[in-house]
């Protein structure tokens, strides 16, 4: 596992300011969806036992149903873990010198990119929708002069505060930089 204070190719004097992940409400929504999916086999079993009990009582029907339901729960469990892994491993790190974007797009697709703070041109925070407004999470868009033109921090808590922090760090980085941009 990675230490929270360690950075890839750490610069001299560079320190971590923030690690950002998706807001906890995103994980809660996923969890509630999974709970509903987990209830489906139970509801199906109840409906079958009430309406077509001969299936459950038969020598072939019961083992087949058992295998199907158990397989469903195994696949659901591994699907939950996969969704968790893909969301939990999306981390945006702000340091005193740069922004590091670590995205797990799928289980075998990981992208790590970074942007020097002095290359930041524009920072925009967006909060759209009922739940983002109530639970105060949203997206932060960072326009850069680098190869990758736009970084997006998705569904992070307190987007306006984060945007302000990035702007302040950007001003400080440009002030300390010997180059003019």
């Amino acid at each position: 596992m990675i230490s929270k204070n360690s950075l890839p190719d750490q610069h001299v004097g560079e320190e971590v300011v923030l690690h950002l992940r998706r807001h906890w409400f995103i994980f809660l929504k996923i969890f509630l969806f999974v709970v509903i999916l987990a209830l489906i086999p139970m509801a199906l079993y109840y409906m079958i036992s009430q309406n077509i009990p001969t299936i459950i009582e038969s020598d072939i029907g019961y083992p087949l149903l058992l295998v199907l339901f158990l397989s469903y729960y195994l696949i659901l469990l591994v699907a939950i873990l996969t969704v968790w892994t893909e969301n939990y491993l999306d981390v945006w790190t702000i340091t005193t010198d740069r922004i590091i974007n670590r995205e797990q797009n799928s289980l075998f697709n990981r992208i790590v990119s970074e942007l020097e703070l002095k290359m930041v041109q524009d920072v925009t925070a967006e909060q759209k929708g009922f739940f983002p407004t109530v639970f105060y999470y949203g997206d932060v868009y960072i326009q850069s002069a680098g190869e990758k033109e736009r970084f997006v921090f998705e569904q992070i808590p307190q987007p306006y505060k984060i945007a302000k922090i990035i702007q302040q760090l950007d001003e400080k980085a440009k002030k300390n930089s010997p180059e003019r941009i």
Binding site: P63, L66, S71, T82, Y88, L107
Partner: protein, 85 residues
């Protein structure tokens, strides 16, 4: 004679898929995740839940008589013996 044990073998294939996929997920969480309380708790909780689910499933499956034929056609009325497939 094909018995209902084919369902059991099908379930074993799904368990194998489950174990392999779970391994890759936990590998990613350990390799790329932070050394945090949340990460460790999730991994431990998942391993406990997976172990419980697989153990409980085999307890239930062991109660089934897998030697029963898959299809049993009674053809006694036609003068022959039952056809078991």
């Amino acid at each position: 004679m094909i018995t209902i044990v084919v369902f059991y073998y099908l379930y074993l294939v799904i368990v194998l898929f489950f174990v392999i996929y779970s391994f890759f997920n936990i590998y990613h969480l350990i390799r790329f995740g932070f050394a945090s309380f949340t990460n460790i708790i999730i991994i431990v909780a998942y391993l406990i839940a997976a172990t419980f689910l697989i153990a409980y499933s085999f307890i239930l499956l062991n109660q089934v008589d897998w030697s029963l034929p898959l299809i049993n056609l009674p053809v006694g009325q036609l003068g022959g013996s039952d056809i078991n497939i």
